[in-house]
């Protein structure tokens, strides 16, 4: 019988200091090595003796040792998710710089131009597209194969989509290309966005095709920027880009998005329901919800957008973000359970189609808090299952 309220992570996990320092040429401290030992034991990671031996050098790691450090980092992430009880796991983007910088570093045509603040003290390294983007190499294959080999649970591979890469980049090449056309400014900008996006979709399809050919069965298409450009044409472009990316590929696809503008997810509807191969949407909701107990509309006002799925008769899968990821303030497992049960009530989806997850990737949290959050997700799901079926 399929599990009710299966749990998943969305993408990233924080990196331990022993993973990051060797790549910044910063010597490791006793505490860094102790952390590797402690968490290795806590998560039941196999073969940590090899890692500790490498880390004991403290500095001057060669490329083979650095590769091993990254592989252990992937392994720690997989075991963290498995130990927390997630049903669908991933290696926490440990091999990636982050979800934007890794793809644009591996697609030709981009040039990094500097950092831009996203919020608080979070910045991204913006790249500018200076010529037509071209495929360079498969930037996800190695980590995907490693994860598939090591995971004891079902895996999914998150892949950043074309819309997001377009929206977070400086669209220099296509903006210049359209600059002198005699059409209204808004039309010029849209055409520049569309052309850039659809070129990227083809490249990303090639990356995914190889993953699928090598045995990956589930891909999460990450579209955090789905709600960035908000005109109806732009939302249709999100759909067009997804369909273009997944065209001709035989795998299971889900879509993740988060942090929409003040209108919430309503601006995506009904167009996103037309994505041909999307089996599940995973959206952030915990960010907007309070800590009051209850499954009434007042207590769960942050999840009110979920009504959209019922209104449009949606009957595929849905991942509900039940924990806000940009704070260390945690809800109780009871509140998480209430959020899950409210989601079930609001969407009318059967509980095996309703996944639960943190709102987004956990890379901005400490490993301790991230692990607590994952455990909260599964604890809340367990409580929700018990409430539906007390036996």
């Amino acid at each position: 019988m399929p599990k009710l309220f299966p749990a998943q992570e969305i993408g990233s996990l924080p990196k331990f200091s022993w993973r990051t320092k060797p790549f910044r040429d910063t010597p490791l401290s006793d505490a860094d090595v102790a952390t590797a030992k402690l968490w290795g034991k806590r998560l039941g990671v196999e073969g940590t003796g090899d890692l500790i031996r490498i880390l004991s050098r403290r500095k001057g790691f060669n490329s083979a040792q650095k590769k091993k450090i990254v592989e252990f980092s992937l392994l720690y992430a997989i075991r963290m998710e498995e130990r927390a009880g997630l049903d669908l796991v991933w290696s926490g983007e440990q091999a990636r710089t982050e979800m934007y910088e890794t793809p644009v570093s591996n697609i030709r045509g981009f040039e990094f131009i500097g950092r831009v603040r996203s919020f608080d003290n979070k910045y991204w390294r913006m790249a500018s597209i200076r010529s037509r983007p071209r495929y360079n190499n498969n930037y996800h294959l190695e980590e995907a194969l490693f994860t598939r080999k090591k995971a004891t649970r079902k895996i999914k591979v998150p892949v950043t989509d074309a819309i997001t890469i377009m929206a977070w980049s400086d669209n220099h090449y296509y903006t210049s290309k359209w600059a002198n056309k005699s059409i209204p400014p808004s039309e010029r900008s849209f055409n520049a966005r569309r052309e850039f996006t659809l070129e990227l979709s083809k490249i990303i399809r090639k990356v995914i095709r190889e993953l699928v050919d090598r045995g990956v069965q589930e891909i999460q298409i990450d579209i955090p920027a789905a709600t960035q450009y908000q005109s109806e044409d732009d939302i249709k472009l999100v759909v067009e880009s997804f369909d273009e990316t997944t065209k001709g590929l035989d795998a299971s696809f889900s879509v993740h998005s988060c942090f929409p503008p003040r209108f919430g997810y309503s601006i995506l509807f009904p167009h996103i329901l037309e994505m041909k191969k999307c089996d599940r949407f995973s959206f952030e909701y915990g960010n907007r919800d309070g800590f009051a107990r209850g499954i009434d509309d007042n207590s769960r006002s942050g999840l009110s957008d979920l009504r959209l799925f019922k209104e449009y008769g949606y009957d595929r899968g849905l991942g509900v973000g039940v924990i806000h990821v940009h704070t260390d303030l945690l809800p109780s497992a009871g509140v998480v359970k209430d959020r899950i049960l409210y989601a079930a009530k609001m969407t009318d989806l059967s509980p095996e189609k309703l996944f639960v997850n943190p709102d987004c990737g956990l890379r901005t949290r400490s490993p301790e808090v991230a692990y607590k959050m994952l455990n909260l997700v599964t604890a809340g799901a367990k409580k929700a299952r018990s409430e539906l079926d007390p036996s």
């Binding site: 003290n121 400086d170 400014p185 908000q230 005109s231 929409p260």
Partner: protein
């Protein structure tokens, strides 16, 4: 390692120096501060009756703000913004400019759980918050107050405001400025302002009205005695406009409006592109000014 606060101060000082070096008429501090982490934050964190809510996308950008939740009567002591400004910038001898969200933008982005009526909230922001802030800033030596109003034009899924609504938005701006002696501007960006032309000139009681000319066609302008903030350098792109390109736009603006005061400006604030690119845009605007002065 230098502290984060010191790094922000250094960034801010460099920006002020650059603007002075380029002979800008008004200089701003770039809002580089740990206490000014999104455009609304001084209000969200520093005004009575407001608390910080969900993290939400700022218009069509990859930047975010915390929703101001209105949970009670809102009231400001007038120092929410001032306490985030370095005194040495105010005393630096240049005309110091402060940029604030206009009442309409605050009203549209807030989650109102107290007033229950958009008009009441609009004037609560104007009368109880912004007026106090503007007065205090003006008394402390701020020479230019700019209200930024993406809400007026960045209406990707909503129709433009009606003329009555525009008039009301202008009345709220007027209420905010009451008692201030600073020069004032009202800048619109992220969208096309042409649906509001020509009414915007009479409805908004600021000295200058600003347009994002990456989104608004300069040909849509009409005659006005107001000053024009000419957003001719696209603040969302690293594409560095040539002096000639911008000069052609300014010529159209001057010809269409007949305005005797045209302020050269980026299309919006420059936080959406890397600092190096932003500085290059400012330098290019300065070159444009030199060229126009030579003519």
């Amino acid at each position: 390692m230098k502290s984060l606060n010191a790094a922000f101060r250094e960034d801010s000082d460099q920006l002020v120096s650059l603007q002075k070096h380029l002979r800008f008429d008004h200089v701003s501090d770039g809002q580089f501060s740990l206490a000014w982490q999104d455009f609304l934050r001084p209000i969200t964190d520093g005004v009575e009756g407001i608390r910080k809510g969900a993290l939400v996308r700022w218009y069509n950008t990859n930047t975010f703000y915390y929703t101001p939740i209105i949970k009670d009567e809102i009231r400001s002591d007038g120092k929410a913004v001032l306490r985030r400004i370095e005194k040495r910038h105010l005393d630096s001898g240049s005309s110091f400019k402060v940029i604030l969200p206009d009442p309409l933008t605050l009203t549209e982005l807030a989650d109102d759980r107290f007033y229950g009526n958009k008009e009441k909230l609009l004037f609560a922001f104007a009368d109880n918050v912004l007026r106090e802030e503007v007065r205090r800033l003006s008394k402390s030596g701020v020479k230019y107050i700019q209200f930024s109003s993406p809400a007026l034009v960045a209406r990707f899924r909503e129709p433009p405001l009606s003329r009555d609504e525009l008039k009301q938005a202008g009345e709220a701006v007027g209420a905010s400025l009451r008692g201030s002696s600073a020069r004032s501007g009202f800048h619109t960006f992220f969208g096309d302002a042409s649906p509001y032309i020509p009414w915007i000139f009479d409805s908004i009681p600021t000295d200058d009205i600003g347009f994002d000319f990456s989104q608004t066609d300069p040909e849509s302008l009409t005659p006005s005695k107001k000053g024009i903030i000419a957003g001719v350098a696209d603040a969302r792109s690293s594409y560095l406009e040539s002096v000639g390109e911008m000069e052609r736009k300014v010529a159209v603006i001057a010809e269409r409006t007949g305005s005797r005061s045209i302020t050269l400006s980026p299309s919006s604030d420059l936080r959406y592109i890397p600092r190096e690119v932003a500085d290059a845009k400012l330098k290019r605007l300065s070159k444009l000014r030199e060229k126009l002065e030579d003519n």
